[in-house]
Symmetry: C2
Subunit: 224 residues, 2 copies
DNA sequence: AGTCTCCCCCTAACATCGCTAGGGAGGTTC
DNA sequence: GAACCTCCCTAGCGATGTTAGGGGGAGACT
């Protein structure tokens, strides 16, 4: 073993985990438009074809990134507390994670999130639903509904400002909408001015999430 | 005026509308991966740089496509009927339109849909909410919530099968999920088998939509 | 009629992209 | 020592979005 000498000869060996980490860094710092396999390779002090030894394609890399990010969602371990509260917390946590990786969030629509971590998440959600009395079919569809809502919301939210409740881009948009001709778009103009204030989109997200969970509850009740 | 002679000398002059129509055709027939400015130009019997006289960039073209598609959503004209029923119908109609243009639907997350048609849609939705007693702020956020849900759902739905209730890719996915090791993913496996049957995702969409509208209603009530 | 101007499409080309082919250094296994 | 496997390399292909700059043709003005 070569000891951790001070004249460390550059970064260690490549592997999928290191590639994924560097890719997430590159996405976060430079944005999705600036992302390319060549740039990623450069960040790893490597030439781009070497990446293809570890990863089949850029698209597979993206799948890997999605799954990596999903892996950071904290899953409830026990099985106590009402099912809807647990799913609510999980939905909130998932959104937080996605907003921390806006470019990855935008990658998700159009993909099926069934890597190892995505499957673990599905297993957990469906398990919560089944133990709460949902039959297999309703549990599966409930999982889909929850995921579609959270991922879809978060992905679009990134277009209105990157962080949670981040006013940065939101104010710009509300300024644009507020500047529209009031005779043609009276309602848009009226609502635009208040779009930037608190509460931000977090409240709207929670509202919709609660509504969906309530809908699921009614669905379960009517199916027995 | 040169009359519409039988030996029509190829397609007429270019304009943004013709470009958009051809782009939508190309997306639908060949898919998003096969789309390029060069291919689009070829479909129009034109060289690709000519497109840039009419359109600033590919990205602006995509904005145009999104707005064009939003323009085909039928907006309720009168103002009768309960607000939530009207928004429900509008949400269902929007989803139908998006599923008819899956690639455009996948384009939407990450964009702000505020072209002319997108604004007309916003104007209508916010108007319905305000006339139903929502204050300006709640109306604006209610519009956002509705759009986020419908667009997010539809965009992800296209990853699970392109058409509404299209079993094509859905059965493939449920087969994959059903083939997982049952000891490790018991809940996923249990739910997977039923994922392909009726009712399809339309029911889940409606369920979530209703839940969200109910949530909005409670929100309005608690704000007065 | 001639000229001017603007519209609109063209050719050519640049930088960059994802990805493949094929080579070779270095360690591991018989 | 030879065969093998791992893993990174150079070289390069075909394609992409976009820009630079040219030119033809139709209408407007003098």
């Amino acid at each position: 073993m070569p000891l951790g000498l001070p004249d460390d000869p550059g970064p260690a060996r490549l592997d999928r985990a290191r590639i994924a980490r560097a890719a997430l860094d590159l996405l976060r710092t430079d944005g999705a438009d600036a992302f390319s396999m060549r740039r990623l390779a450069a960040a790893l002090q490597i030439k781009s074809p070497s990446l293809y030894w570890h990863v089949r394609s850029k698209d597979e890399l993206f799948d890997l990134l999605v799954d990596d990010v999903l892996g950071t969602v904290p899953l409830p371990d026990g099985d106590d507390g009402p099912w809807d509260e647990r799913l609510r917390d999980l939905g909130l946590a998932l959104r937080r994670v996605l907003l921390a990786h806006p470019d990855v969030a935008r990658l998700m629509p159009g993909r099926t999130p069934f890597g190892p971590n995505g499957l673990a998440l599905a297993e957990r959600v469906i398990g919560v639903l089944r133990r709460a009395g949902f039959d297999d079919r309703l549990a599966g569809y409930g999982y889909l509904l929850l995921m579609f809502y959270v991922v879809g919301f978060a992905a679009q939210e990134t277009a209105f400002g990157k962080g949670p409740d981040n006013p940065e881009r939101l104010t710009e948009i509300s300024r644009f909408l507020g500047g529209l001709p009031a005779d043609r778009y009276p309602n848009v103009v009226a609502a635009a001015g208040t779009l930037t204030g608190r509460p931000g989109l977090t409240d709207r997200f929670e509202l919709g999430l609660t509504g969906i969970l309530n809908g699921l509850d009614r669905d379960r009740a009517s199916s027995r």
